[in-house]
Symmetry: C2
Subunit: 388 residues, 2 copies
Amino acid sequence: MSEKTFIPLSVPNFSGNEKEYVNDAVVSEWVSTGGSLVPKFEQAIADYVGMPRAVACNSGTSGLHLAMMMAGIGAGDEVLAPTLTFIAAVNPIRYAGAQPIFIGCDDTLCLDPKLAEEYLQANAELKDGRCVSRVTGAHIKAIVVVHVFGNLADMEAIMDLAARWHLIVIEDATEALGSCFTAGRYAGKYAGTIGDVGVYSFNGNKIITTGAGGMVVSNHDDWAEHAKHLSTQAKADELHFVHDEVGYNYRLTNLQAALGLAQLEQLEGFIAYKNEMYEFYRERLDGKHNYRILPFRDGTRSNRWFYSLFVEDAHPLHRDEIIRRLSAEKIQTRPIWALIQDQADYPQNQHYGTGLARHYLGHIVNLPCSTNLSKEDAQRVVDVLLSL
Amino acid sequence: MSEKTFIPLSVPNFSGNEKEYVNDAVVSEWVSTGGSLVPKFEQAIADYVGMPRAVACNSGTSGLHLAMMMAGIGAGDEVLAPTLTFIAAVNPIRYAGAQPIFIGCDDTLCLDPKLAEEYLQANAELKDGRCVSRVTGAHIKAIVVVHVFGNLADMEAIMDLAARWHLIVIEDATEALGSCFTAGRYAGKYAGTIGDVGVYSFNGNKIITTGAGGMVVSNHDDWAEHAKHLSTQAKADELHFVHDEVGYNYRLTNLQAALGLAQLEQLEGFIAYKNEMYEFYRERLDGKHNYRILPFRDGTRSNRWFYSLFVEDAHPLHRDEIIRRLSAEKIQTRPIWALIQDQADYPQNQHYGTGLARHYLGHIVNLPCSTNLSKEDAQRVVDVLLSL
């Protein structure tokens, strides 16, 4: 028998023009922040998601920091945010000098707008058109919603909530490039294009990658311009190096954009394959052997970036032991993130309705989901899981 | 006669293994923050500058922000910093919540330690081993020194000043990779390795480039570890996504490191050529036609990253007009940076002894200095300058 190969959780797929475009960039010696490919990639992403303009940056995290600054979040403000997500959705609130209030999730793993409403009813009031905390007196200025694993959050309810409470909506679509609504008020709308600001990520584990990178879109044209300005050290005079704000170096490079352009050509194919392999796992594992494969929201076309295996309490093995057994078989999986409210100095922040998030935290295993995952390898994952 | 070609100010030179190494990275599909090349590049830079450890990051700016956090600079602190430099040397002080105090330059264009001493004598005192401002009561915790254009600052005087006043020394060596002392107390020591923290940049205009990128070194081993931790979102548990601090995504990618490794192989050759072309300009322009070519510090081997043409007041044309005339001849040059104390909201900060900086500000033109600048092109620059 041949040696078992390693099955990674999520790795890039460069079966398109990646090598050619990157090589062209190196040969041209345009690899830094100048060159024509960054604006080309910006426009290509804008066109793809149906927005007039997109602003490139060097990571999803820097995109989220730009989003906070675009929204005018500053010292003393508070921002509603999910507790069950990658910590990069929340840290930028702190970079801006503000504080998060952690809200739990619904069964899509995304922030539950009903819980946010309950929190605000109990702890906030509208004063002169501002949502003001009765706990701290702070201005609750915005809500960050993450489309977890490519699953769209309940944007109708979130936008209604935001309208009622005068909140800015920051959509963390870092995991959800290509996910869109197919029914309801936002039919045809892509993740990231519904709120005030949307942020995408092109990190190595994402559905398309630039190595590291991100993109920001906004329904306010001047906010997008401001993001571009802040991401380029707020340089107001190219020649004389005059800067009119405290800016950042958050620029994407031409070399990274070359990779991104080749990846974007493949995106719809990747999404089709992600959906196909999701069904592959679902047919073989959902409802079997005390496993569930968590569904994606109805009325959406999801990029199905990450697949979530839910391990029922009746399963003889703990979730972490399942991960260990898979690892022994050279299959890389991971648990969902620890709750952010338990990390760093975030235990001092307010949190509300986070019981369901804690429940999911204990039970989810993310299965291998690379776009070059073969059916043979996926079957090996299934076989190991059913043997446990 | 043939059409004149454009002579850029400073562009990359990929005449080595850049294409091969980058291609290998793309073919391997290791282009993001995993992969073997980031640690390899870190070690290669550490070995080059003679330090045990170097920590990669995604820009010189993020490296300087890491330096602030390594040094424990926080809200309410003050930091001495140059007024005549690129604004990225100062903005990270603000990212950390602290305030800069601007100090002028000496004739090397670097921060003048005598002016810093005068400022501190007049405005600060040591209290319980801390340098405390008599103006604001704040703790003046550190000094940022920039090795401007690759010219080493007066590190003996700066280190003595720092010892007297208990200041942490942050060396912004973003422009000075490869510059080192050849005489005096620090003979053999490279820019960035003398103070508490040193930061390099691999931006597209620097002597070697990774497109965008930076590196941090420190004479405190635990500070370097802390920088690595902060640059990777402060992830304390790889599997369970537990984070013990508010961290950042400041990672360099494997793709960028591939480029950096190829560039580093060429660095000594680049420095030799930069020195040769500096002499080329100096012989033809220094002391002629109301021009000076500014010297580099004695007792050093400089990378001579940027060449500074000083236009005497007796010259019939203003500095900006000279830049315009060169531009009309397709020769790209630039003035030295505007003083930071005049920009963004920095006019509200303290400044001291900045007259000489303002004098240089009005008179300097940076000449084309790419490592692939031909002698024919350099002669064209000289000819135009002598014709004005």
